[in-house]
């Protein structure tokens, strides 16, 4: 389970500045239960974008966007609508945005920030990883997360330590920033490499108290922890 919240509409509009036609994509998994990317939110976003003068070439909700194989098979019937768009606005967690970016040769924009659950457990994640940083950067990086794809988590570019495209820290993995470069080149957005990403607001990555106090969290506590909480 990942929790997300929609980015402010002004931020999304900024991402879409050069795009006239957009495909809006949601997810019937966590985004649906977060009320950020289920069908009602996707339709609301479509209407809002149309109100702002964008053409929405199509919209749909897939369960689940974190599974790349499903992204490909479920989007195939809508291929014409997807390919007509300049870009895709994806209303899901950071994993969903990255798996769409990996499967569709179009720029992807994150419509949500994934917020921290304070450590996710019992999940079997794919290759796309999301740190739940609460301040999604995927718009600037071709839909590949620099926090997880780069060993140092650098936001503004490579450290310069890679050799033959392999990471200085773990040569068995590719340099995340070289992957970002290749993706941005593929979707014609190399201009984004020059965007300065300001210092990150790490406080957004701390799990919020309301998340730590869900019913499930309380049930998971051991008796002594509950006692301590009661003080």
């Amino acid at each position: 389970m990942l929790r997300s919240e929609q980015k402010p509409f002004e931020e999304i509009e900024g991402y879409l500045e050069g795009d006239k036609k957009v495909f809006v994509l949601g997810c019937d998994g966590c985004a649906q239960s977060s009320k950020t990317g289920g069908m009602p939110q996707v339709v609301a976003m479509k209407e809002r974008l149309e109100g702002a003068g964008k053409k929405v070439t199509g919209h749909t909700v897939i369960d689940f966007l974190c599974q790349k194989a499903l992204v490909a098979s479920r989007l195939r019937p809508l291929e014409a609508q997807v390919m007509e768009a300049d870009s895709l606005l994806v209303l899901t967690c950071g994993v969903g945005v990255q798996s769409v970016g990996a499967m569709v040769k179009k720029p992807v924009h994150p419509g949500c920030n994934t917020i921290s659950l304070g450590g996710s457990r019992g999940e079997w994640r794919g290759t796309e990883r999301c740190l739940e940083c609460g301040d999604c950067l995927l718009h600037y990086t071709g839909g590949i997360c620099p926090l997880t794809a780069c060993s140092k988590g650098l936001r503004n570019g490579a450290c310069g330590g890679a050799s033959d495209g392999r990471c200085e820290v773990s040569p068995e993995k590719p340099c995340g920033w070289e992957l970002i470069y290749e993706r941005l080149k593929e979707v014609g957005r190399l201009d984004l490499l020059k965007e300065f990403i300001p210092p990150k607001q790490w406080d957004k990555q701390r799990p919020r108290p309301e998340i730590l106090s869900t019913a499930l969290w309380a049930l998971e506590q051991r008796d002594e922890e509950r006692e301590e909480d009661r003080g």
């Binding site: 503004n156 490579a158 310069g160 330590g161 495209g165 820290v169």
Partner: protein
């Protein structure tokens, strides 16, 4: 003459670097300082180079200031968060340090404290931007400083890469670093003049001084080691052969270095000599290169 004046004067600038030792013994650094005094325009002090824990750059820079040298305070983003970085910058200013060189820093797993937590709270572009904020009288959070800093900020660039992605990223980041406030660049070590020429043809548009990195070759083994392990360093086979045939490896290493400096000289605004143990031979290199 301070470093930024040397670079603005259009004369070919010379910087070098020293690495503090692991421990409190500063005698070697002080001996090197004595040798270099008056001979170079700046002396970088490395910051926990290769992620190996040592005496700090800040304290060593301060000793160099006392000795009358012009230190360049190297700061990596690896070990300190934004609070510690900014505080160290304020400390550097009050200790009379004028120049800062910003780098990402090798990952802890490459050093001698492999279990250390990496920080990278700021990346190098963000740290450069932060220093510029401080020069303007404000900290990163926007609070006013009681007394601002006045740093001449430098950054690094890798001129020769092995992939298109790396080449293009280096140029894009160079531009981003300049926009964030970088006013000079020191480069990874260069051995191929043509490759550096190709890089400078594209980097010249930025109109920011570039000091080309040079590492004196000491042996065939060193050249092969760097080719295999150091990103962005490519020693051509001819140079390795030349080194292999030489009877006096030290003399040959110095000769090659001087020749390289002369071949690179017209392409950029200065040289940054990373002598790695040969710091006391730098006056000799400068004489051979007819720069002294």
């Amino acid at each position: 003459m301070v470093l930024h004046e040397a670079l603005e004067s259009k004369k070919f600038a010379v910087t070098t670097e020293v690495g503090p030792l692991k421990g409190t013994d500063t005698s070697e650094v002080m001996e090197v300082a004595e040798v270099l005094k008056g001979k170079v325009d700046g002396v970088n002090v490395t910051d926990q180079q290769s992620a190996v824990m040592r005496l700090g750059s800040l304290a060593t820079c301060s000793l160099l200031v006392e000795k009358g040298l012009e230190p360049v305070f190297q700061m990596t983003c690896r070990d300190r968060n934004r609070i510690a970085l900014q505080s160290d910058l304020l400390s550097a200013h009050v200790l009379g340090i004028k120049n800062v060189l910003v780098i990402s820093g090798d990952f802890p797993s490459l050093g001698d404290h492999i279990d250390a937590k990496d920080v990278y709270d700021l990346d190098s572009e963000q740290l450069i931007w932060t220093i510029n904020q401080m020069n303007g009288g404000h900290d990163l959070a926007g609070n006013e400083l009681q007394g601002k800093t006045d740093f001449f900020v430098g950054a690094v660039v890798k001129p020769v890469s092995d992939t298109e992605a790396s080449t293009e990223l280096q140029l894009a980041m160079m531009e981003k670093k300049i926009n964030a406030g970088a006013r000079f660049f020191q480069t990874q070590a260069v051995y191929e003049v043509d490759a550096f020429d190709r890089f400078m043809k594209r980097a010249a548009q930025f109109k920011v001084p570039v000091l080309v990195g040079v590492i004196p070759l000491k042996s065939v083994g060193m050249a092969r080691y760097m080719n295999k392990n150091v990103s962005g360093v490519f020693v051509p086979e001819e140079l390795i052969e030349e080194m292999g045939k030489a009877e006096d490896k030290t003399a040959k290493g110095l000769e090659i270095t001087a020749r390289l400096i002369n071949d690179l000289k017209d392409l950029c605004q200065g040289v940054h000599i990373m002598a790695i143990g040969w710091e006391k031979k730098i006056p000799e290199i400068l004489q051979l290169a007819k720069l002294a």
